[in-house]
Amino acid sequence: MKTFKMGGIHPSENKLSAGRPIQLANIPKQVVIPLSHYIGNPSEAVVKKGDFVKVGQLIGKANGFISANVHASVSGKVNKIDVQLDASGYKRLAVFIDVEGDEWLETIDRTPTIISECLLSREEILKKIQDAGIVGLGGATFPAHVKLSPPPGKKAEILIINAVECESYLTCDHQLMLEKGEEILIGVSILMRVLDVKQAAIGIENNKKDAIAHLSKLAEKHTGIRIEALKVQYPQGGEKQLIDAIIQRQVPSGRIPIEVGAVVQNVGTTFAVYEAVQKNKPMIERVLTITGKEASNPGNYLVRLGIYLASVVEQAGGVPANTGKIVGGGPMMGRSLMNLNVPMAKGSAGILFIKAEESLRKPIQNCIRCTKCVRVCPMGLEPFLLMNQSERNMWPEMEKNRVMDCIECGSCSYTCPSNRPLLDYIRFGKTTVGSIIRNRK
């Protein structure tokens, strides 16, 4: 079975919410929609206090190419435009909307009919994707239209759909594939049309056998789309790792996937593309997994953007008593949250409750030079060395040892027998070296 060739780990999968049907999250009295997501310029508000907005109406206009539109996820009156702490821990400008009814823009097709035919041109599709404010739903939230517009002279050969969901606990993509398989495949053909490629591969890890079987059956009706079952291994959902796993090509250091002829999109993004292009529905909601070993009711929820996470959690049975840490996202790359009074964002894939006794790190011991961090690094780096150099502010040396290649997957810290905070130091060094490189230009 295919997988990436270098490094990797296999944490306990703990897919507690697997197979749980997607439920609609209740809409509270107020939602707070951030005008910016993690990557790219913040969008500019185009509504003001007192305005009445409908579901799907543009409220934030993209500012520049690497930026995405933001739409109202509920109908109601704009209460204010103010700063709000988001899940990444930063204060960002957000639109506060007092909910009134559930009135949608008339242009949005809300019927469950599946529309498979798409005769739009490449430019028309791209415009729709851009207008709908679609960003990558895998975590980095990079605007989708940017990746779909290869630089001049570069041509994609294959579209790769990232349905790996290699993080433990998370099941939102898995459930989406089970419930919206046909729509996803139509989304894939639309993206193939945009990129003008003949083939697409959907990479799914082998712990989701039902999704593999379901999509393989549906894919028989679509030409050029194949399903690739992958050996379960973290971080297979890393872009470079997934490309390596599926087409055995390694994207060189500092380069982007298009240089080996690949474009990668997340499976959730693909579904959003279907909705935007075929149903005129902008990105106003996404699936969120709520989970944890002691969660009373682990499940998958379709949540409108801007709903406070606290509200969804309450609907899912509340925060378990013995919780030491709440993580936004998966256990390997998610961020720990200070509280649940943060709004649902385009990049929110999960809320994970970690038991108190599993929340604290164990005491740091001397490095015993066991080389396990080197063995698991999927980029072929030397985490032990980078940490030492970061502790000593040796920035030029870190750059030479390729710290910028680090994808921050955390496999090194996960595996270290001495409990050394390898990634903490590497991330710090990467940030510093990154700004040194930018200042050089």
């Binding site: 270098m6 944490p11 433990s168 470079k240 390596d244 090509r249 390694q250 994207v251 060189p252 250091s253 380069r255 925060v319 919780t323 030491g324 840490k325 709440i326 993580v327 256990p331 390997m332 790359m333 998610g334 961020r335 720990s336 994970l352 970690i354 599993e358 929340s359 790190r361 164990k362 011991q365 001397n366 490095c367 015993i368 030079r369 066991c370 080389t371 396990k372 080197v374 063995r375 690094c377 980029m379 072929g380 780096l381 030397e382 032990f384 060395l385 390729r402 290649d405 921050e408 955390g410 810290s413 996960y414 595996t415 270290c416 027998p417 001495s418 905070p421 990634l423 903490d424 991330r427």
Partner: protein
């Protein structure tokens, strides 16, 4: 949940620990230890207990009363050093010499450099080589294998295979009895079969990777096979080299010591190749009948430079 814990990712840990790794090494040494007990009886038991207890005790005393820092005896690394040292000693060695060896191994070999993780040379080998140079007579008289022997200091001694090869005196045992361990030598030298069983366990547990042991063994095999091919009447067969002396113990347990070996597969291959070459050169052309300990210590010295110049295979390296 009054207060939530905030920390950067990753939020889970694989559960590996220094103690687990050290325990794996101890378990992997168990077959060889049992064979040692079988062939050398009481003597084997006495030197093992003495060596392990004194290594752990010296680590405790030095950290607790001399350096006044937290002791690290519970991580099991001192016990591993003690057991490896015992594996390297003749089973008729007086207790006081073993205690000196343990003090040198732990004191000079490990604690002076800052404890586990910081020592440039393998502590057990530092202890062994110190004893070999200081007490050459006692360190080269090897008891004959006698199942369940009740002799310790008064055990009957005989020559090791390598010294027979060196001096061309005496008769060599068959390759099979070499493989199983029915010969004179230290506990860790005799049974290649038991040591290979340990290697299998360590590889399955992923405690070590194959690179160091396999590169050492194959280098020694190829080098001695070439010598043997061109002058079979002068140079011993490669199998004899493979299954005698400290080669297996060295390749599987001493050279693979985490702290003192290179940090990536490519470096490990270079290091293993170096150990293999130096071992054969000392065995065949040197004064000493055995050279594995020296070869490992010499290559330990090269480890930092190997780490500086030989980097792991990077992702996307082969693509232009």
């Amino acid at each position: 949940m009054e207060k939530l814990i905030i920390s950067p990712a990753p939020h889970i840990h694989g559960g590996d620990s220094v103690k687990k790794n050290m325990t794996a090494v101890l378990l992997a040494l168990l077959p060889a230890l049992l064979v040692g007990f079988y062939f050398f009886g009481l003597g084997a038991l006495i030197i093992t207990l003495t060596s392990v207890i004194s290594c752990v005790l010296f680590e405790y005393i030095l950290q607790r009363y001399v350096l006044r820092i937290e002791t690290s005896i519970s991580d099991g690394s001192a016990a591993v050093t003690g057991l490896l040292l015992a594996m390297n000693l003749p089973t008729n060695l007086p207790i006081w010499i073993i205690v000196i060896g343990a003090l040198v191994a732990i004191g000079i070999g490990k604690i002076t450099y800052g404890g586990l993780g910081n020592n440039p040379f393998n502590p057990a080998l530092v202890g062994r080589v110190f004893l070999l140079i200081s007490f050459p007579a006692q360190m080269t008289s090897w008891p004959l294998p006698t199942p369940f022997s009740s002799h310790y200091l008064d055990a009957e001694t005989g020559a090791t295979v390598l010294s027979i090869i060196k001096s061309h005196l005496g008769e060599l045992p068959s390759t099979l009895s070499l493989f199983l361990g029915n010969m004179s030598g230290s506990m860790g030298e005799i049974s290649s079969a038991a040591l290979l069983l340990g290697l299998l366990y360590l590889l399955l547990k992923k405690t070590i990777s194959w690179h160091i042991p396999i590169s050492i063994l194959s280098t020694v095999f190829v080098f001695t096979a070439l010598l043997n091919y061109f002058k079979p009447d002068v140079y011993a067969s490669p199998w004899l080299h493979m299954f005698s002396g400290g080669l297996m113990l060295g390749a599987i347990f001493m050279a693979t010591d985490y702290v003192t070996s290179p940090m990536n597969p490519r470096g490990m291959l270079v290091y293993g190749f170096g150990i293999g070459i130096i071992t054969v050169v000392i065995r065949v052309f040197g004064v000493y009948p055995e050279g594995v300990s020296f070869a490992i210590l010499i290559m330990n010295g090269f480890t930092p430079i190997i780490n500086t110049y030989i980097k792991p295979k990077r992702f996307g390296e082969n693509i232009k």
